[in-house]
Amino acid sequence: SQQGEEDPQALSIQEGENATMNCSYKTSINNLQWYRQNSGRGLVHLILIRSNEREKHSGRLRVTLDTSKKSSSLLITASRAADTASYFCATPPDSSYKLIFGSGTRLLVRP
């Protein structure tokens, strides 16, 4: 079964708007990661947030983590057409070096 589940499955917004994606997970974690995948390509690591952190920023990305609710959100501010991609959350089960990926959110940013 999936460790992480993203919500929504698909999101369509206008360029300049903000995009918010959510991820829920099932077991305890020591970190949570977000990845981006452009169509037909490999995944690119975006940001990692540790279990003792509540919020983290990287450029136009803002990630929050609520361990009590076992959930995380990824906010992309001032979106651009180039942000069109699928976004995945991933968590390491039992502090291992494996990752379990969620099913992803497909983001479309309309110019």
């Binding site: 999936q2 690591h45 990692l48 494996k98 969620g102 099913s103």
Partner: protein, 111 residues
């Protein structure tokens, strides 16, 4: 920058053929991974390796084997390709038990 390369972007093979997918990383990472990605099923871990000549099964190892003779190279082998192995195959590596770096992917079609 970490670079992970995969031997082919696109590959077409016939049922019953033996197929080799190769992955090379240039960052001296200990851990390497093979995933397959299918619509609606997300990324699923096939095998991973945490050291030379060491390997562990992931979630869907059936029909696959792997080889890691050198630290930088991790090969995925389909002993006898079947049509249900048509998929996108993604290789990744990681140095710490944290972020993974992905190759561009190999889209394999088995006819």
């Amino acid at each position: 920058d970490v670079k992970v390369t995969q031997s082919s972007r696109y590959l077409v093979k016939r049922t019953g053929e033996k197929v080799f997918l190769e992955c090379v990383q240039d960052m001296d990472h200990e851990n390497m991974f093979w995933y397959r990605q299918d619509p609606g099923l997300g990324l699923r871990l096939i095998y991973f390796s945490y050291d030379v000549k060491m390997k562990e099964k992931g979630d869907i190892p059936e029909g696959y084997s792997v080889s890691r003779e050198k630290k930088e190279r991790f090969s995925l082998i389909l002993e006898s390709a079947s049509t249900n192995q048509t998929s996108m195959y993604l290789c990744a590596s990681s140095g710490l038990p944290y972020e993974q770096y992905f190759g561009p992917g190999t889209r394999l079609t088995v006819t």
